[in-house]
């Protein structure tokens, strides 16, 4: 039994490495297509972390929605947008580099020192239900029905807005 726990631990480290490597590839890549690839790797890693957190349902949803839909939409955007080469070459030598490093250092230090280390999170004394899909479905359709309806309205509005914005095709090209 203990062997399985060690295997899970090793898999956890591998997933964390996959997540961070994908992130670094996504923000440091020269080509946007490589950045999307890094994003997909990160999303797979986060899906594995969801699996570790005890929710296989959300891991599958993460792969289905993020990797399957969002990444494909972004790839379509990359192919339709056609970034010029000199812009891609400028990607790595952007003059915003000190600013970016400062922003992420500040963000991480404030989050890590001020929040994560110094806060004692109190665990709930009694738990209701479990992590199963049945319980999630019951809660989603009974108690949190508003979130369910709201997300469908948001998605409908987004689809209509995307159609209206991207309408016109290539004949609308003016310069």
């Amino acid at each position: 039994m203990i062997v399985f726990e060690y295997i899970a631990e090793i898999l956890f480290y591998a997933l964390v490495c996959l997540t961070f490597t994908g992130g670094i590839v996504a923000v440091r890549a020269k080509l946007l297509m490589h950045a999307v690839l890094g994003l997909a790797a990160t999303l797979f890693g986060v899906a594995g972390l969801y699996f570790h957190l005890g929710s296989p349902f959300l891991a599958m949803m993460q792969i289905l929605i993020y990797v399957g839909a969002v990444c494909i939409i972004i790839v379509m955007g990359v192919m339709l947008g056609n970034t010029p080469d000199q812009l891609a070459a400028k990607n790595l030598t952007g003059r915003n580099l000190p600013l970016a490093l400062l922003a992420c250092l500040t963000g991480f230090v404030s989050l890590f020192v001020a929040t994560i280390i110094r806060t004692e999170f109190t665990v709930a004394t009694e738990k209701v239900g479990d992590m199963s899909i049945e319980f999630v479905g019951e809660n989603l359709l009974l108690q949190y029905c508003l979130a369910f309806e709201l997300i469908s309205v948001v998605l409908l509005t987004a689809i209509l807005g995307a159609i209206i914005l991207a309408r016109g095709g290539r004949e609308g090209k003016t310069s």
């Binding site: 961070f20 993020y66 992590m131």
Partner: protein, 105 residues
């Protein structure tokens, strides 16, 4: 104690995801790169929700519902942003955010 069964581990991973997203948001020179970075920020938030959900929260369905909500928001946001990028590219023939100086389409 196993490091994968600890709340702080997941919080640190989520913070690193947020920081990667902020870095890419500031440094990337194209609109699609900034969209990709925003997905990192959203994923950090979702991982935070899931971590608190499985370690702290009394009702383990709430965090999952929140994460599903974030996924829906992210999908809607990606669709909208990509169509805006296509419209902007049609108008300006460029994806450099610094060349987009006026909002008039």
């Amino acid at each position: 104690m196993m490091i994968s069964a600890n709340l702080n581990t997941y919080l640190v991973i989520a913070a690193v995801l947020l920081v990667i997203g902020i870095y890419g948001m500031v440094q990337h020179r194209s609109l699609i790169g900034m969209l990709i970075s925003s997905e990192f920020i959203l994923n950090g938030a979702a991982l935070n929700f899931m971590a608190f959900n499985s370690f702290v929260a009394p009702n383990p369905a709430v965090g999952q519902i929140y994460t599903l909500f974030i996924m829906g928001i992210a999908a809607a946001e990606a669709a909208i942003v990509v169509s805006i990028i296509i419209a902007v590219y049609r108008k300006y023939q460029s994806e450099d955010p610094e060349e987009l100086q006026d909002m008039k389409m």
